[in-house]
Amino acid sequence: MSVPQIDSIRMPDRVAMNATKPRRFTRVPVPFALVALTLIVYGLVVCWSATSNDPDFDFKRQLIGVALGLVCMVFFYRFDYRHFANMTTILLVINVVLILSPHLPIIGVEAKGAQSWIKIGMQVQPGEFAKVTVVLFAASLLARYGGTLDDAREYAKVVGLLLVPFLCIMTQPDLGTGLVYLFISAVVLVMGGAKPKYLFITLGLFVLAIVAVFAIDEVIMSNTGEYKLLKQYQRNRLLVFLSPDANTSAEGYNLAQAKIAIGSGGLFGKGLTQGTQSSLGFLPEAPTDFVFCVLAEELGFVGAMALIGLYVALVAISVGIARASDDLFGMLIVCAIVGMWLFQILENIGMCCGLMPITGIPLPFVSYGSSFMVVNFCMLGLIGSVWSHDSALGRKGSYGA
C-alpha cells in the first residue's frame, strides 16, 4: 500500500509527551460528559423496560457491556489518539481481520443467515467493534491530505481503500453495518476536504451501482429463477418501505406493529414497562432493533423528544469539539463518529416510523447489545481524547506553520 504521508502530523516522542502532559488531561469535558452520562442512563432505563418482559434478553448483559465500555472509554480517553495517525496500514489490516473473523472455523458462529458473530467466551459481533477501527482508518487516511483532496487519482485511491471494510462486511453479509461504514467514509470524505465535483461523481456512481445491482439481479432471476444478489427479506423490506399498507409479509407486519407502538404512545406514553405492544410481544425484536418503539410507546412524544434532544446536544457538542480541534486527524475522528451516530439514529428511528427501510441497525446508547454499547463508549473515549489532547496539538499547527 502506498499512501502519501503528511509531515504535518508529527507525533511527539514519548519523552516529549510525558514532559508535556496535556493540561486538561485530568479534567473532563463537562457538558459532553454530562450529556453522555444522561444519554447512557436514559438508554439503560429504556433498555431495562424493554427487556423486563422478555426472558430471551438478560439486562445484566447490557450492564456488563456498560462496564466493559467504561474500561474501553477510559483507555481511549487517556490514550493519545494521535498514536493512530500514522497507523493507516495497520488499521486497515486490523479492519480486514476483524470483519472477516467470523469466517474463521472454530470461533465463527452463524446466526440468522449471516456469518456475523464470533464466540470468545461470550458471543460478540466483530463488525460492530470494527466501526471504531473504520473511523480511525478513514480519518487517518484523509488526514494525510491536510484538508484538500483534489487530485483525481489520489481521490480514487482513497475511495477504493475506504470501500475495503464495506466489501469485507458484505461477505458475512451484513448490509446494515456495511451502510454504516459507507456513511462514515462519506462523512470523512466530505469533511476531509475532497473536491465537491468528485464527491458528486461518487454519489452518482453509487446510485448507478445500486441500480446495477437490481438490474443484474433481475437478469439472474430470469435465468435461474431466483434472486441471488439481494435476499428475499431485503426485497420485502424495500417493498414494505415503498408501500407500507399493501404488504402483508413479516416485514410489513413488523413495520405496522412498530408504528402502532409509537403512535399509541401519544404525548406522554403508557408508562415504563406498561407498553402493551412491546411487553405482550406484538413488537418484534423490541429490545434490539425496535427499542425506540418501546421508548416512544412507554414515554410518549415527550420521551422521544427528550432522546432526540439528548442526541442533538451530543452531536452539537461533538461538532463543537471537532471545530475546536487544532488537528485535522482529531477533527475527522470526531466528525466520523458524529456521522456514524447520525446515520444510526436516522436509520433506526426512521425505520421504526416508516421513514427508512428496515435494516438491523441498533440505536446508539439504547438498543440492547453489549458489543455496540462497548463501541459507543469507545467513541465517547475517542472524542474525549481529541478534546483532552487538544491543547498539546498546537504544536502541530505551529509545526505546519
Binding site: 484538508g147 476536504g193 399509541s264 480541534s325 416510523c353 498546537g394
Partner: protein, 722 residues
C-alpha cells in the same frame, strides 16, 4: 405515581440538555481566547521526536512527495476546521435535517394520529372470544328428550404434534390409546388442515388434570370441555333426527340473520338437526380478553354468557318410533348382520291423517348419530359405503324410490270409475293369465290359478291383476291409439291428484319425488332409443298395477292413503312446537292442507270399503290386524324385480270409520307384501293406536345402530303373493 416518575425523568433530561448546551455555548464563546493562549503555549513545545511512525511516514512522503499542507501560511491560531467551514455547515444542515424530519414524523405519529394508533394497539391487545352455546334439545311429542347435550373432555393436538414422537408417546400412555392410533388421529385432517385434531373425547377428568398440570410435557396439546350431542336412545329415529358436525365451507359462507356460525361450532348436517338448525343453535357467549401475540389469554375484561338454543318438540312419539325401529331391525338384521334376515332395507312411516303429524319415521339400515358428531370415523365410513351395507345414511322413507306395485290400485281404480271403464257392478273373469292385446306374450296374474269371476271390489281385495289389465286395455282402446275419447294421460291425471309425483313437503331435506310415467316422460327418457320411446299398451297395464316405470316414496304413498281415508292431502310435518331457553312456546306448527283431490265421494267410499275388505277378507292379514285390535283398512303390494328380490309393501290406516293414523311399510327385497310388510304395518299401527288410546305399555330403550356388518343377501322368493 408512575406518571410523576416519568415526568421527573423527562424534566431531568431537559435540564441536562439545557445546562449542557449552555455550557457548550459558553465554551465556544471563549474558544478564541483559549486558542490564543494555546498558540502562545505551543511555541515552547515545538519539537518533533523520532517516533517509530516518523521514519515510515517520512519515507512514504518522500516517495510521493506531492502532498502539501495548504494552510501552512496562515498563522498558528488557525484550526483545520476553519478552512472547511462550509463543510461543517453541510454537516450541521444534515444533522438538522435528520433530527428535524424525525421530530416531524414523530409528531405526526404520536400527536396527530395518536388516537388511531391507540385503537390499533387496543385491537391487538383485546380479542373477542366467542364461547360456544349449547344446542337446544330435541324432544318427542310427550316432551321426552331424545337428543340432549353432555360435556365431553376432549384432548386436542395441533397438527404438527405428529412430528414430536415424545409428546405422542406421552399422550398414548396417559390416554391409554395405542401410539399408532394417536398418530392416525393427529394425521386425520378431515376437520380441516389447520384445525386442531381430536386425539380423544370423553377423557377421564384425572387424565385431563394430568395433562393440564404437565403442560410443559405436552406442547401443542390442549384440553377443551365441549358440549356434545347426547342420544339417550342411541340409534332411535336416527334418520329423522340427523346428526351434527363441524360446518362445511358453504355453511360458513351462508349469512343468516341473527346467526353466527364459527368453524368450531357444531351445526346440523341432516334431519331435524339440519332443518331447524337456526332454532337449535344458541347464541354465542362473548368474552373480551387481553391476549399476547401468541393469542394466550391474559385477562378477561368482560363476558356475556352463551344462550342455549331453543328446544324443538317433535310430533314423533318415541314409543311408536321405538316399535318401528326395533321391528325393522329385528326383521332385516336380527343378529345385526345385514343379509341374514328378511330384505336388505326397510322403511316405516306413520302419520296422523287428521293433521299431518309424523308419529314415526323409521329407515333401516340405520346409524348412531353420536358416531357422526365431529367427523365420521374412517372405519365406520368404509363399512357404510360398502355396497353390501345398502346405504345406511339414506332415509328410505323420504328418498327411497320403489315401484308402488298394487298400492297403486286404489288410485287407478278411482280412475277406472271416474272414466266409466268400471262401475260397482262390472265383472271380469280371471284365468290367471291375460293376453288382451293379442301379442302372444302372456301377462300373468299373481295368482296363476286365476281368481275366476270378480267385480272391482273383489279385484281390489284380491289384488287381481287381470281385472286391472282389462281396465288398462279399456283406457288404451279409448285412448289416442284407439277411439281417442280419453287422453293418453287419463290415469296419470288421477294419480297426480294424489300428488304421487310431488314431494310431500315434510320438514326434512333431501326428499325425492315419485314418478308417474307418461308418454311424454317415456319419449324424453328414451330419446336416444326411439324404438323404446313409444307409449304402448304394455305401459298401460304396467302402470295400472304400479309396476314398470312407476316410482314412489313410502311417504308419498302414506300421504296419498291419508287422502283416501280423509279426502284431504295433509302436509306431513315433524315440528310440533319450539320452546326457547326459558321454556316458553315460541313457535307452534299449524297443520296445512296441501290439497283436497276432486274425487266423487261415492268412488272414495267404494275404495275405502274395498281397502277394508283387503284387511278383513284375507285370513292371514285379518289375523295380523285383529291381533292388535285394529279396525284397519289397507293395501298390500309386491314390487317385482327381474334381477333381485321383490319389494314388500303394505299401507294401512285405522280406525277404518274414523281414520287417525296411516302407516306405510316397505321392505326392500323382502318378498310378498301381505306376508312380510303386513305384520309390520299391523304392529306399528297397533302401537300408534295404543298411544292414541293411552294404552301403550312400550317404554323405549337404547337402540344400537346398524353395525355395518353384512353378508350377501340371498333372495328368498321371486314369486308374488300379493
Amino acid at each position: 405515581m408512575f406518571e410523576a416518575i416519568v415526568t421527573g425523568l423527562i424534566a431531568a433530561v431537559a435540564v441536562v440538555i439545557i445546562v449542557a448546551v449552555g455550557i457548550a455555548l459558553w465554551n465556544n464563546r471563549r474558544t478564541p481566547k483559549a486558542g490564543q493562549v494555546k498558540a502562545v503555549k505551543q511555541l515552547d513545545t515545538v519539537g518533533v521526536g523520532t517516533s517509530p511512525f516518523e521514519r515510515h511516514s517520512a519515507a512514504l512522503s518522500n516517495k510521493s512527495g506531492e502532498v502539501h499542507v495548504t494552510h501552512s501560511g496562515h498563522g498558528s491560531v488557525r484550526k483545520p476546521a476553519d478552512s472547511l467551514r462550509s463543510r461543517f455547515v453541510a454537516l450541521g444542515v444534515l444533522a438538522g435535517a435528520i433530527f428535524g424530519s424525525l421530530t416531524v414524523k414523530l409528531y405526526s405519529l404520536q400527536v396527530l394520529s395518536a388516537s388511531d394508533y391507540a385503537s390499533d394497539a387496543e385491537d391487538n391487545l383485546y380479542s373477542n372470544v366467542r364461547t360456544p352455546a349449547p344446542r337446544g334439545y330435541i324432544c318427542d311429542s310427550q316432551g321426552v328428550p331424545i337428543v340432549k347435550n353432555r360435556t365431553s373432555q376432549t384432548v386436542l393436538a395441533d397438527p404438527d404434534v405428529v412430528d414430536d414422537r415424545d409428546v405422542m408417546r406421552r399422550l398414548s400412555v396417559v390416554l391409554g390409546i395405542p401410539a399408532s392410533i394417536v398418530r392416525q388421529r393427529i394425521q386425520d385432517s378431515s376437520a380441516g388442515a389447520q384445525s386442531k385434531r381430536v386425539v380423544a373425547s370423553d377423557v377421564r377428568l384425572r387424565d385431563v388434570a394430568f395433562i393440564a398440570e404437565h403442560a410443559d410435557a405436552f406442547p401443542g396439546v390442549s384440553v377443551e370441555s365441549r358440549a356434545v350431542r347426547d342420544y339417550p336412545y342411541g340409534a332411535l329415529a336416527a334418520h329423522l333426527l340427523g346428526y351434527t358436525g363441524l360446518p362445511s365451507k358453504e355453511q360458513l359462507d351462508v349469512e343468516v340473520e341473527g346467526r353466527e356460525i364459527l368453524s368450531t361450532d357444531y351445526v346440523g348436517k341432516s334431519g331435524v338437526e339440519s332443518t331447524y338448525d337456526n332454532l337449535l343453535a344458541g347464541d354465542h357467549g362473548h368474552r373480551r380478553v387481553t391476549v399476547d401475540v401468541l393469542g394466550n389469554v391474559l385477562d378477561v375484561v368482560s363476558e356475556t354468557q352463551p344462550v342455549k338454543g331453543s328446544d324443538v318438540y317433535l310430533t314423533v312419539d318415541s314409543r311408536v318410533q321405538y316399535v318401528a325401529d326395533k321391528t325393522l331391525a329385528e326383521l332385516i338384521a336380527p343378529e345385526g348382520v345385514l343379509g341374514e334376515g328378511t330384505g336388505v332395507g326397510g322403511a316405516v312411516f306413520v302419520m296422523d291423517v287428521t293433521d299431518g303429524s309424523v308419529i314415526a319415521l323409521s329407515s333401516y339400515p340405520t346409524f348412531e348419530p353420536e358416531q357422526f358428531t365431529g367427523s365420521i370415523p374412517t372405519d365406520v365410513w368404509n363399512l357404510y359405503t360398502d355396497e353390501l351395507a345398502h346405504a345406511p345414511l339414506n332415509n328410505r322413507v323420504i328418498n327411497g324410490l320403489f315401484a308402488a306395485a298394487s298400492t297403486y290400485k286404489s288410485f287407478t281404480s278411482i280412475a277406472a270409475l271416474d272414466y266409466g271403464f268400471a262401475d260397482f257392478e262390472s265383472e271380469w273373469n280371471c284365468k290367471g293369465y291375460w293376453d288382451g292385446f293379442k301379442t302372444g306374450s302372456v301377462q300373468r296374474c299373481w295368482d296363476h290359478s286365476g281368481h275366476g269371476k270378480l267385480d272391482l271390489h273383489e279385484g281390489i281385495v284380491n289384488s287381481c291383476d287381470v281385472v286391472f289389465y282389462e281396465i288398462a286395455k279399456a283406457f288404451f282402446d279409448h285412448g289416442p291409439d284407439g277411439t281417442g275419447e280419453v287422453s293418453a294421460t287419463a290415469i296419470q291425471d288421477v294419480l297426480a291428484k294424489y300428488r304421487l309425483d310431488q314431494t310431500t313437503g315434510i320438514d326434512l331435506a333431501g326428499e325425492s319425488r315419485g314418478r308417474i310415467p307418461t308418454p311424454e316422460w317415456k319419449a324424453d327418457h328414451w330419446r336416444d332409443y326411439p324404438a323404446e320411446a313409444v307409449w304402448r299398451g304394455g305401459d298401460y297395464t304396467n302402470m295400472i298395477i304400479g309396476q314398470g316405470d312407476v316410482l314412489v316414496t313410502p311417504i308419498e304413498i302414506a300421504v296419498a292413503y291419508g287422502a283416501i281415508a280423509t279426502g284431504r292431502i295433509m302436509k306431513p310435518h315433524l315440528l310440533k312446537e319450539v320452546r326457547n331457553a326459558a321454556g316458553d312456546v315460541v313457535v307452534t306448527y299449524e297443520p296445512e292442507v296441501v290439497a283436497e283431490p276432486d274425487v266423487n265421494p261415492d268412488y272414495l267410499s267404494f275404495v275405502r270399503s274395498a281397502l277394508r275388505g283387503v284387511i278383513t277378507d284375507n285370513a292371514s292379514t285379518a289375523k295380523n290386524f285383529e291381533k292388535y285390535g285394529l279396525e284397519a283398512a289397507g293395501k298390500s303390494g309386491t314390487a317385482e324385480h327381474v334381477d333381485k328380490g321383490d319389494d314388500a309393501w303394505f299401507v294401512a290406516y285405522a280406525p277404518y270409520n274414523d281414520p287417525k293414523y296411516v302407516v306405510s311399510v316397505v321392505i326392500e327385497q323382502g318378498g310378498g307384501g301381505s306376508a312380510i310388510a303386513g305384520p309390520i304395518a299391523a304392529k306399528v299401527l297397533g302401537a300408534a293406536m295404543d298411544v292414541y288410546t293411552e294404552k301403550s305399555e312400550v317404554s323405549p330403550r337404547r337402540l344400537a345402530g346398524y353395525s355395518g356388518k353384512a353378508v350377501e343377501y340371498k333372495t328368498q322368493s321371486a314369486e308374488r303373493t300379493d
